[in-house]
């Protein structure tokens, strides 16, 4: 009985060892793992699967296994993977992930590939700048977006309010539109993703040019005036959002119900408004005293140090395929704004995304948020303090002074 038991365990152990040691790169086929958060509901995953098939047909010997993860899960999985070594070969994730993952020493410097510069020339420079840290590119832009001003045409007509053409007119319109159940404007969060465009458009800054300090920048007189304006319209009931007031209706629900009239938002707002049959229009952010400066969003492709050389080579081929014109046009058809310069002018892409020209105009002056590893925490500090200022819990000057002091302490560490 006992020898049989021992034999069983030995056999199980040996079998397990063999299964575990089977390398995916054995033979002629290299299998790469691709983590992403393309949306299934918008048909993006179906397009991705078709693209992978095309890629595999063109590149015999490379197989791509894609894994969908929701935004936060994608980020947390890489954070944990940096410790355990369980990482993908390619990742397509938020541009804000680049500095954070780079600080984990997990990312591969993508510009070590000989033809990186050639590929870089084919994509929009501004979105791709979100990959640049200390003179090294740690990724390449996958798709981009920025925020433009969406307005509910029905509500504007009913209130006889014209589409605003300056930032000051935006605030006036928000108040004029607020009546009964209608709330002029919605901002779901109070980070730089949300208030940055207003600050930049009035000439304010978040950090010093070398990203070393916040004092004198985030708490400047310009920024105080901008946040005060938001606080004023919040007090008038013309601005709402769950991070300022957890009881507020979420932006998508609010648009669908005809509650919100104005929102500075990305391409997804067009898609959700179409789904809710809302009659809407959109314009680049109306200019403040320093012009119209929106915020840059989007996703980048990243690769990892932990992958073996053959997998890195295969992954780079896949990344190049995904930023090529054809793949980018296909993705544009399901709502992903291209970064490929040729794809941006492609008639098929423009037909699929009627707002593409509006976004393209906004992209010309859009700014990326500072590319520093501490950015996530910096933005969270700002979000909390700006929420306190807008809701009147603290004076704007006090809240922004506190934010500056906390950010400086963080950056000094």
């Amino acid at each position: 009985m006992r020898p049989k038991l021992i034999l069983t365990f030995v056999l199980l152990f040996v079998a397990g060892f063999f299964i575990a040691s089977c390398d995916e790169t054995t033979g002629d086929t290299v299998t790469i793992e691709f983590w992403h958060n393309y949306s299934a509901s918008d048909g993006q995953i179906a397009v991705l699967e078709a693209l992978i098939e095309d890629f595999e047909a063109e590149n015999t010997g490379i197989e791509v296994e894609h894994v969908y993860m929701e935004w936060a899960n994608l980020k947390n999985s890489v954070v944990l993977g940096a410790q355990t070594g369980v990482l993908p070969d390619v990742l397509r994730g938020d541009i804000a992930f680049v500095p954070q993952f780079q600080s984990l020493n997990a990312l591969l410097a993508m510009d070590t590939f000989d033809d990186y510069d050639t590929v870089r020339q084919t994509v929009l420079a501004q979105p791709n700048s979100s990959n640049l840290m200390d003179g090294t590119y740690y990724g390449i832009a996958a798709n981009t977006n920025t925020k433009i001003l969406f307005y509910n045409e029905t509500l504007l007509e009913a209130a006889e309010v014209d589409v605003p053409t300056t930032l000051d007119e935006v605030w006036l319109a928000a108040e004029a539109l607020t009546e009964g159940d209608v709330i002029g404007m919605v901002e779901p969060w109070t980070g730089i993703w949300n208030v940055g465009p207003y600050i930049w458009s009035e000439g304010g800054e978040v950090l010093s040019p070398d990203n070393s300090t916040a004092t004198g920048y985030i708490n400047s007189a310009t920024n105080v005036a901008v946040i005060q304006k938001l606080a004023d319209i919040y007090a008038a009931g013309a601005l709402a959002g769950p991070s300022m007031d957890p009881g507020a209706v979420g932006d998508t629900d609010g648009w669908a119900a005809g509650t919100y009239a104005l929102q500075l938002d990305g391409p997804w707002r067009g898609a959700s408004n179409n789904a809710a049959a809302i009659t809407y229009g959109a314009t680049p952010l109306p200019a403040g005293s320093a012009g119209s400066v929106s915020v840059l969003g989007g996703e980048n492709f990243m690769m990892f140090e932990a992958s073996s050389d053959p997998k890195q080579e295969a992954a780079w081929e896949f990344v190049k395929f995904m930023v090529s014109k054809d793949a980018q046009v296909e993705m544009a058809k399901v709502g992903q704004m291209p970064v490929n310069l040729e794809a941006l002018e492609d008639p098929e892409a423009i037909e699929a995304m009627p707002l593409l020209p509006v976004f393209a105009e906004a992209l010309l002056t859009a700014r990326a948020r500072p590319v520093i590893p501490e950015w996530s925490e910096v933005e969270n500090i700002i979000a909390a303090k700006v929420a306190l200022a807008i809701t009147g819990e603290k004076t704007v000057q006090t809240a922004l002074d506190e934010a500056a002091a906390e950010i400086d302490a963080l950056l000094a560490d």
Partner: protein
């Protein structure tokens, strides 16, 4: 005969190790090792990632937690949540158990009814509560449009204490069923002869409850209060769904704040120190509850 049987017990069949070891190693690997590792991490400025150095910082992480105003807010909110939800869940759970214990018809129906909230998903019921308490929610609709008690919508989730009250209400509503089941089992174990003796002595209902029932279920009360206290300190989903810690971290509880510091700020040392502090608090409360209830028991 007895002696030889005793000696036989000392010889351990090696097959027992085969059965025992996997489970034991599992617990060591996934429970004790992480706990030990976390204690170590709490003394370091722990950096995750490849080839990262983590400098030893002594008690710095603990000092940072204890001097952090948001951690204090989160701690206060958690204590408030625990002190409100634990006693109320127990009292209401016990009341329901006593009522159901006293009836013979439809007992199963009531048991299932009260237990339903326990088995429903936290996320689902938290979302339902959000729809009830939000500005354009059911409660405001009833108050303004149907009953006309107020003209303007009340921001139930908009400020710290009212939002926490909604979370507490959810915690209590969801917890009553579990308390009921445990207390119902305990009530059935109280010897009926004691009640018969009390009847003969002419004890009224109140006397029967305080002198027989309550001392009879003292062990259960102790168990339930410890479990609920641990549960209250582990509350996460209701806050995440109802307010996500907003506005400006004012409705944060220790676990939501810890999650934020771990995964948003990647401040592992801080989060480990916060975990150790919470562990210490829970241990302290457990000891305190045992001490107080045991002394009461001895006094009775």
């Amino acid at each position: 005969m007895m002696a030889s049987r005793g000696r036989q017990h000392k010889v351990i069949d090696p097959r027992i190790w085969v059965i025992f070891l996997p489970g034991f190693l599992f617990v060591v690997l996934f429970t004790f090792y992480p706990m030990g590792k976390m204690l170590v991490m709490s003394f370091f400025d722990w950096n995750i990632g490849y080839n990262q150095t983590s400098p030893y910082v002594g008690l710095d992480n603990y000092v940072r937690v204890l001097t952090d105003p948001i951690a204090r807010t989160a701690m206060t909110n958690t204590f408030a949540y625990a002190f409100v939800t634990v006693p109320l869940q127990m009292v209401l759970g016990l009341c329901v158990a006593l009522l159901i214990h006293g009836i013979s018809r439809l007992s199963v129906f009531y048991r299932v009814g009260y237990y339903l909230p326990v088995i429903t998903s936290w996320v689902v019921v938290a979302l339902l509560f959000r729809y009830i308490f939000s500005n354009a929610g059911l409660l405001n609709y009833v108050l303004t449009d149907i009953l006309s008690i107020t003209e303007d919508h009340i921001g139930w989730l908009s400020s710290r204490w009212s939002a926490l009250s909604a979370a507490m209400l959810l915690g209590i509503w969801k917890g009553i069923g579990w308390n009921m089941v445990i207390f119902l089992a305990a009530l059935q174990a109280v010897p009926k002869t004691l009640y018969e003796a009390a009847d003969m002595d002419g004890a009224n209902r109140r006397q029967r409850f305080f002198h027989i029932t309550l001392p009879g279920i003292r062990g259960t009360v102790m168990f339930v209060s410890v479990m609920l206290m641990i549960g209250a300190f582990n509350t996460f989903t209701p806050i995440t769904v109802l307010t996500n810690g907003n506005p400006a971290h004012q409705t944060e509880v220790v676990l939501t704040w810890m999650y934020f510091k771990t995964f948003d700020a990647l401040d592992m040392g801080y989060s480990a120190a916060l975990s150790m502090i919470i562990t210490a608090i829970i241990v302290l409360f457990t000891v305190l509850i045992f001490y107080v209830l045991r002394r009461k028991g001895e006094g009775a």
